[in-house]
């Protein structure tokens, strides 16, 4: 493993380490539910997407959705994980108004996917490996609405039975940044795979964050022995629904735990809720009585047995994933940083690749996107898909710069024109005479005019050769930005007798 500097938190009794593990519930993108033929669309009217199976009506039986199984396998493969050819569905028994069967069908002892790994891309360009413990399939619960009435809760079962993948990490994250990076990378992988839309606002992806603190050195002892006692007692923070909140929740919770321990208290293993308004975690009262889920294999379902050949077929159809794409792009000349920024979102990677497909140079295209276009999108608050300039248009601009058809300055102006007016960049350059002037005769004439008009400056430049840039600026201005800067430099140098 690569050396990494671990952030320590200062306490009154010494330094503390944070240890973080995550359980992410990702909704499988599917038309129908995991065990019924009801629809899964977001935002439907209450109880309008509920089969009698999802409502736990008497005598109803689950039949599994093959597509969902395939997506779980696909995700497992994308996480470089072990695919278990035999897995078992269990019932997790508990009572809750949004759990109509009185149990959740989940996978307990034998999940469909075992151990894997994902690489976190950190802001300094480094990567950090985080182990995946398992991925299992399960049903989502319905939704209770508590604010419609002072003394009642309203239950909507539209989500009941929607297919989820629960992806469990190992406790390998050590800071709030790493926790956020984990969620970001996992989301990217799921979106590349197309197995989950990663839409955290709509609840398609929800993270439960397990946080504990231990005295400095505790984590290494855990890695050496595998003994969790070195990690301290963990608290599970439920349903944290954005990267930013994950980071906030971790920071708050770690500090809270340190304070409790340093005040002579002990951490109780419990489930906590993140209050995003207050930026705090707090104990969940209703979940306090000890749970005893009485897991046992669901007798309505047989063990799920897969063929290796089927799994191999899915493997063969996997798209290029962020890490592989990043490697390919760095080989094509991009810096690790540029590459990881571009691959972080499937949309930006796709956009970039479309530019390359239109013949733009990789490095130039990456610089152009990262320095110019994405900045403009950000400022306008637009997603890539909603941006006004096509990948083809941006590629055309970058190619014209590379071919010295236009200058870098004109390129930026041109982007503004295409952004606000639309149109074909090449046609615009042609129509508005934006082409770079490389004809030395024409440039010479402009240089001569500038020299003639500024005799005093000509004297000054002899003493201060740095003033040459003032002449360059004047020439460019006079040429309407179209003069080739290289040619301007060379001619000025010669006419003003400047040293090389």
């Amino acid at each position: 493993m690569t050396e990494r500097t671990v952030k320590l938190l200062k306490g009154q009794t010494g330094d503390w380490e944070i240890v973080i593990g995550m359980e992410v519930h990702a909704q499988i993108l599917s038309n129908s539910k995991l065990f019924s033929g009801a629809a899964t669309a977001f935002g439907a009217s209450p109880n309008s997407q509920v089969s009698f199976i999802d409502a736990g009506m008497p005598g109803m039986l689950p039949v599994i959705n093959k597509w969902c199984v395939e997506q779980a396998v696909r995700t497992g493969l994308g996480l470089k994980a072990q695919i278990n050819l035999t897995s078992v569905f269990d019932r997790k028994n508990y009572f809750y108004p949004d759990l109509p069967q009185g149990y959740q069908i989940s996978q307990y002892k034998s999940p469909i996917v075992g151990e894997g790994e994902i690489l976190l891309d950190m802001n300094d360009g480094s990567t950090i490996p985080v182990g995946i413990e398992r991925l299992h399939m399960e049903q989502d619960a319905g939704k209770s609405v508590h604010d419609q009435s002072p003394d009642s809760s309203f239950v909507d079962l539209n989500r009941s039975g929607v297919a989820l993948m629960e992806i469990v990490s190992k406790p390998h994250m050590r800071s709030s940044e790493e926790a956020a990076a984990f969620l970001k990378k996992l989301r990217a992988i799921l979106r590349y795979l197309g197995t989950c839309d990663g839409n955290m606002d709509e609840g398609s992806m929800r993270a439960d964050v397990n946080v504990s603190v231990c005295k400095a050195g505790g984590y290494d002892k855990f890695r050496a022995t595998g003994d969790f006692k070195h990690l301290g007692t963990r608290c599970e923070i439920k349903n944290v629904n954005s990267m930013r909140f994950v980071a906030q929740a971790v920071e708050y919770e770690a500090r809270r735990q340190i304070d409790v321990i340093e005040d002579g208290g002990t951490i109780r293993q419990e489930t906590r809720l993140f209050d995003s308004k207050a930026g705090e975690t707090r104990s969940m009262r209703s979940k306090e009585d000890a749970h005893d889920y009485r897991y046992f294999p669901d007798p309505d379902l047989l063990p799920l047995v897969l063929d290796q050949a089927w799994v191999d077929g899915i493997k063969a159809s996997l798209p290029e994933l962020p890490d592989e794409k990043k490697t390919r792009l760095t080989k094509a000349g991009l810096s690790a940083y540029d590459a990881s920024v571009l691959v972080a979102e499937k949309e930006s990677a796709d956009y970039f690749e479309a530019m390359m497909a239109s013949g733009a140079d990789a490095k130039a295209a990456a610089n152009w996107l990262n320095n110019e276009y994405f900045g403009r999108l950000n400022k306008a608050g637009l997603a890539i898909a909603d941006g006004p300039v096509s990948a083809g248009a941006n590629a055309a601009i970058v190619k014209m710069v590379a071919a010295n058809t236009i200058s870098g300055k004109i390129a930026k102006d041109l982007l503004d024109i295409v952004w606000s007016e639309g149109g074909d960049p090449e046609a615009i350059v042609e129509a508005r005479g934006l082409k770079q002037v490389t004809d030395t005769g024409a440039i010479e004439k402009v240089v001569d005019d500038v020299i003639a008009a500024n005799p005093d400056k000509v004297e000054e430049v002899k003493a201060k050769p740095k003033l040459a840039s003032w002449f360059v600026g004047q020439v460019m201005k006079a040429s309407g930005g179209k003069a080739n800067p290289g040619a301007v430099n060379a001619i000025l140098k010669q006419k003003l007798n400047l040293p090389d």
Binding site: F52, A55, G56, M57, P58, G59, M60, L61, P62, V63, I64, R91, N93, F95, P97, P100, Q101, G102, Y103, S153, V155, D292, R294, Y295, F296, P299, D300, L301, L302
Partner: protein
């Protein structure tokens, strides 16, 4: 073939032939049974009677027959155990908690029957959630066995849990009925009412739309007056159902076609472990007679051993309650069924709705099941029980290397008095001692009437087959039926009552 003089005395097959030959209309037949059902209310065999629906279906059947579009069970009135969900018709599972439940869907088995042309007379009484062996746990009161001991007016139980169906068939209140069998709930009531009942191989009949008791054991099957009727009805109850993951993809054969093929050369295994302690001599003698009958018709008798037999019942009383405790969690007073009034919070709503809605035996089994699955006890109970099931299944696999079917008693005794065994749960559970192994192993078993006790109560024998070999069971059962010549009928005392 001479037909019975009374329409309600027809067997299912006789009625089919008569209806198809237009000797009798479905309306006549159905009217006769609707009346028989109404007259037999003292038996309490039905929870819900559906006379209007029955006549409507009968009239529609007669139209089809007139058009030459008769289906295999066209116009034949049946009774349906109240565990099968019937669309638009109250389905209670014998429980207060489902006392007003009207399913918006139909079970696959009942749908198959309607698709074959059958007519619904109503829903039969049963032990609550099929938990019982005497039909005394029903929220709607006990069912009385049409049979009474010679010179006695004492009410006897019809067995359970399909006691209403058994009584309806034995009392000629329907041509045939559906039952379900989780530990013996078809075969045991069939045996003590002098009727035929088969629990098919697990996976033969769809469980879709049948209120679940113990999912890995539950199986629907026919309850009839003759072996032929059972073969005929099973053919149309069974199907390969995409809505049930445990329904097995094997085509359903025409059982009736091979019914009379005889038992010549059939190897009949006699498991020595079924000779239990304190077995009543009458049962022992009946079993011996069965052996002689089959031998006389050319079967070969083989001694076999099923060493784990004695552990089947305690194994069952772990597995079945465990599954039931989970299956019955959905009855929580939220979406349907009984809800306690004025709950102070959601936990109170759950606890009181369930305490008020479930009867004593159901609550007892939920508690047993919750206990054996709870943390710290899972391995000692549930996991051990599932290992025992593996051993029990292996016993059968071994035995079937030496024989084709097994012959055993069906019950440890005849029908007993109402209230006689309700005090001690274990004593009640022992009624299923001969039937329950079959459920644990998923095998088919049939109970066939074989004789009467000294005081005139019916007794049955059980045949156990290989998985999906119901056809052989029907042949062997038919051989016993022929040899036993069981023609006794209960006196229709309920008409006077």
């Amino acid at each position: 073939m001479s037909l019975p003089t009374k329409l309600t005395d027809f067997s299912l097959a006789e009625a089919r032939d008569a209806v198809q030959a237009k000797k009798v209309s479905s309306k006549e037949l159905t009217t006769a049974f609707v009346k028989a059902v109404a007259d037999a209310r003292p038996l309490n065999a039905f929870v819900t009677e559906t006379p209007e629906k029955a006549l409507e279906m009968a009239v529609a059947s007669d139209v089809r027959i007139a058009h030459g579009e008769a289906r295999p069970l066209e116009g034949l009135p049946l009774a349906i155990k109240d565990l099968f969900c019937t669309k638009g018709v109250k389905t209670t599972a014998g429980s207060k908690i489902l006392g007003n439940f009207i399913p918006p869907y139909e079970s696959t088995v009942s749908q198959n029957l309607w698709d074959a042309g059958a007519v619904m007379l109503g829903k039969t009484n049963m032990d609550e959630f099929a938990m019982g062996s005497s039909n005394e746990t029903s929220h709607f009161g006990p069912v009385f066995n049409p049979w009474r001991a010679r010179n006695s007016n004492a009410n006897l139980v019809p067995g359970g849990s399909s006691g209403g169906s058994a009584a309806a068939v034995a009392g000629n209140l329907c041509l045939a009925a559906t039952g379900t069998d989780t530990g013996g709930s078809i075969r045991q009531p069939a045996a003590v009412t002098g009727t035929v009942g088969i629990k098919p191989t697990y996976g033969r009949c769809s469980r879709f739309g049948i209120v679940a008791f113990a999912s890995s054991l539950d199986q629907a099957g026919p309850m009839t007056r003759t072996v032929r009727d059972a073969a005929l009805l099973l053919k149309h109850m069974a199907s390969v159902d995409p809505k049930d993951s445990t329904s097995v993809d094997i085509p359903v054969p025409d059982y009736e076609a091979t019914l009379e093929d005889g038992v010549k050369g059939l190897r009949v295994g006699i498991p020595k472990e079924y000779r239990i302690d304190n077995m009543p001599p009458e049962i022992e003698q009946l079993w011996q007679k069965g052996i002689e009958w089959l031998k006389a018709q050319g079967a070969e008798i083989v001694d076999v051993s099923l060493p784990h037999t004695k552990y089947a019942l305690p194994t069952y009383y772990i597995v079945a309650p465990a599954e039931a405790s989970s299956n019955l969690a959905r009855y929580d007073g939220v979406r349907y069924g009984h809800r306690a009034s004025g709950p102070k919070d959601i936990v109170d709503l759950y606890e009181r709705s369930r305490a008020e809605g479930f009867g004593k035996e159901v609550q007892r089994r939920i508690l047993i099941g919750t206990y054996v699955l709870s943390s710290g006890y899972y391995d000692a109970y549930y996991s051990r029980a599932q290992k025992l099931r593996t051993l029990i299944l292996r016993d059968f696999t071994e035995a079937y290397k030496k024989c084709d079917v097994l012959l055993t008693p069906a019950t440890p005794g005849p029908a007993f008095g109402v209230g006689e065994k309700t005090a001690d749960p274990v004593e009640m559970y022992l009624n299923d001692v001969f039937t329950v192994t079959v459920n644990l192993a998923g095998l088919p078993g049939i109970a066939v009437p074989a004789g009467l006790t000294a005081n005139g109560l019916p007794l049955g024998l059980q045949l156990i087959g290989k998985a999906f070999d119901e056809a052989t069971l029907f042949k062997a059962a038919r051989a016993i039926e022929i040899a036993a010549g069981f023609t006794a009928k209960p006196t229709e005392w309920w008409r006077a009552a």
